[in-house]
Symmetry: C2
Subunit: 236 residues, 2 copies
């Protein structure tokens, strides 16, 4: 991306595809989000506007816009005239609050989604669980990245299956935090066997077509995640 040729955007456009084009701020946003999700940016670390701009070889303006959007997700926090920082480490209380919120939202999502399930979507859910089973779970982040991705995809699919844009928004406000916790909570992937079994139980409930059973299976899953994390949690 040359500094003097911002017009180099229409590069590699296969055909007259009017698909929503991207601007630089979108690219910066995704880059920062990936850095946060991947753990490359640790909690508490400063995210300098100018520094990020230099690193990505863009001007500070799109970086500023991307960070403004990220702030609303809770992943980064801003102090006026002092800049942005990655949100601090989760405390035990934060985690308890997050699980409380998930318990309020995710079982409802499961109940609603169950009623609108199509064979295609059910297959997608099954694929997510299958990916969860086959994903490597090594100690380094690169090795369990796919596991986390499949986990998040499973829950997000259910949220989207509700067909309710507001439930999707409510879940999205939590989803990023869930991911962040998995990264920084310190528990790693010590509960894969249990978690996979619970996801499978949710999937089975969906397949049965009983919304109440689906909601119950999801509530059970979230509660058990909470229980395991509280048992494993380090300092807090």
């Amino acid at each position: 991306m040359q500094p003097a040729s911002p017009g180099s955007r229409p590069e590699a456009r296969p055909a007259g595809r009017p698909v929503s084009r991207q601007v630089l701020a979108d690219h910066v946003y995704e880059e920062l989000l990936a850095s946060l999700m991947d753990g490359r940016l640790e909690p508490g670390a400063a995210v300098s506007i100018d520094g990020t701009a230099r690193e990505l070889d863009v001007s500070p303006t799109p970086v500023r816009e991307a960070l403004a959007r990220l702030e609303h997700t809770g992943m980064v926090r801003r102090v006026a005239l002092k800049g942005y920082r990655v949100a601090p480490m989760f405390t035990r209380e934060d985690f308890a609050e997050l699980m409380e919120a998930r318990l309020a939202i995710e079982p409802v999502n499961a109940r609603l989604a169950c009623g609108r399930l199509t064979p295609g979507r059910l297959a997608e859910l099954g694929q997510a669980v299958a990916d969860l089973k086959t994903a490597p779970r090594g100690p380094s982040f690169a090795e369990y990245r796919d596991y986390l991705e499949a986990d998040e995809r499973f829950h997000r699919l259910i949220a989207e299956l509700t067909g309710n844009q507001f439930m999707v928004a409510a879940y999205a406000a939590l989803g990023g935090q869930v991911q962040r916790f998995r990264l920084f909570g310190g528990v790693g992937i010590t509960d894969a066997e249990n978690a996979i079994a619970e996801h499978q139980a949710v999937l089975d409930a969906f397949a049965s077509g009983d919304p109440e059973k689906a909601a119950h299976a999801m509530a059970d899953h979230v509660q058990k995640v909470r229980g395991r994390a509280i048992a494993d949690a380090p300092a807090g």
Copy 2:
């Protein structure tokens, strides 16, 4: 705000108060939010970056940052290279989805809040209901603005009373939409008597200290709002 003196910020600082200072983007954000809440910006209307900058006598940069934050609230929508627009009018389906989401979140908020209630906070809730009763409810927006404000304040207070940052975030994602519906849904304030009685019922449940009763009263309120709006709704 003179263009050539951005350093005119420390104006009127009574004492060495280190309270979080504001930057221009914050001011622009609040200004735009007020315009949206007040209905001065109608759904579908374009929100020009340069135009807003000229109107508020600032440069486009802070306007761009403010709009980036607003986009995440759902109040405005952005299309790359085409700009921002106020989110379109609520449809009947949108409204049904919003109420479904409120039903999932607000009764939980009420239950959690009931358990952490202090006399001071109960008084604040009572004040909100009292304001609701005394607020004028004329036909023009300026006349029922205070009514809407008291309504929103009541529900927001309950969300904050949970002490759960994620439930607050989830409610906040809905709160703005609730407000938007009241403005653009066309129903106006035709149900004030019923709504006030229901708010009073929620307040009474809180005063009784029974979390389940509070949750039930809140669910009852949301369901009745939904019922009245569906009956009154215009085109949809």
